[in-house]
Symmetry: C2
Subunit: 220 residues, 2 copies
């Protein structure tokens, strides 16, 4: 499966790239923004394509059309302004979704954000409302599309090397407060080829289950 | 026709309120954000309801459901941050659209922004990209709805007392650079009861036609 990882240079994206490189099931390509991000992926043995989510839909589509699946894990990050949140997390995501649909790239895995369908939560974390708004509307576009999508919605991401055990639920009411990025990355690989996860929105945190068991529970 | 003017305290909103008060065809109510904005409308003889677009969809719906039509002319304004652009111009607008649909308030007139479907234009005016992004996606939600909508897309707004002559087109290629707010306000009144304007997106600037003639040309 040829997979385009949009946002591959991010902390989750790098973990996904590495895990796919180590798997026989995937042929990953890193969608990156800058030439200077290339060597990191060359060392990993992962191919790259340099393009920007700020470019036209057509330019983004020209990249996407060459793959079997898209993983969207880009984010403007906490250091940029809310203008970039709108440009990357909202418009960049929606352009990617629309172009995947246009070019018949049916499989789309979105790395979203827990609680992003719960407006009462958006104001609870200072300065995060624009981020949740963007993630909410990007996910809504994906849910309205004809794509075979899976939306993963992790809580606050941490940097442990191990994925550990997880909790996956359909609603965010029971999730914990943290989850390792590694768990999210490994879940992306697990869901990509699993048609039972099509059309599912999965809120996730640390928990008591192996990823495969957690997925089986929430996608039964 | 009982009309709810969301964003009535804005410069376009005040002109719409006044014009409706002077007409026998409309019973306007000003949707305003603050108690201290009330006296202005009381002096005008226009009723008010104090509510916030930052409130829940349900709270906004409880207001909207009492009217025959909604005019949306709210905007976070140039002085606030991009977070407010997302909260008001994007999420506030979409909540209003969704609630109008939910409560069967079929008629919806949006005061949008010229060029907001032309991404190549968004970056041309410094700092305006988030605004255009918000207007684009709010309008898209309206176009996807089952509402009897009309979207007016004026260029840069000016403060002349007179509406003057206008140009209305389906695409922004030929529009000029400015338009009086008074022309936008009078156009809102003209389109509200005109079913030929349902489902139309109208880019508008100063021009050579009377409002009625310009509408007839673009909505034939």
């Amino acid at each position: 499966m040829k997979v385009l990882i949009i946002g591959a240079h991010g902390k989750v994206g790098q973990r996904i790239s590495k895990a796919m490189r180590a798997s026989e099931d995937f042929e990953p390509t890193a969608f990156i923004r800058k030439e200077e991000q290339k060597p990191l992926f060359e060392e990993m043995g992962v191919g790259t394509v340099v393009e920007s989510l700020e470019n036209t839909p057509e330019a983004i589509g020209e990249v996407i059309k060459n793959y079997d699946a898209v993983v969207f894990t880009a984010g403007s990050g906490g250091k940029t302004g809310h203008d970039k949140t709108m440009e990357i997390d909202l418009d960049g995501a929606i352009k990617s979704i629309n172009e995947a649909e246009k070019h018949g790239v049916k499989r789309f895995v979105m790395v979203g954000a827990s609680h992003s369908d719960d407006r009462s939560y958006w104001g609870k974390v200072d300065g995060m409302k624009p981020y949740y708004t963007a993630k909410h509307y990007a996910d809504l576009e994906l849910k309205r599309s004809s794509l075979d999508y899976t939306i993963l919605r992790p809580v606050l991401l941490t940097d442990e090397d191990e994925a550990g055990k997880v909790l996956m639920t359909e609603t965010p009411d029971e999730v914990g407060s943290e989850i390792p990025r590694q768990a999210v990355a490994e879940t992306v690989l697990s869901v990509l080829k699993d048609s039972k996860t099509y059309g599912k929105v999965i809120e996730m945190s640390k928990g008591e289950d192996k990823i495969s068991d957690a997925l089986a529970k929430v996608c039964s």
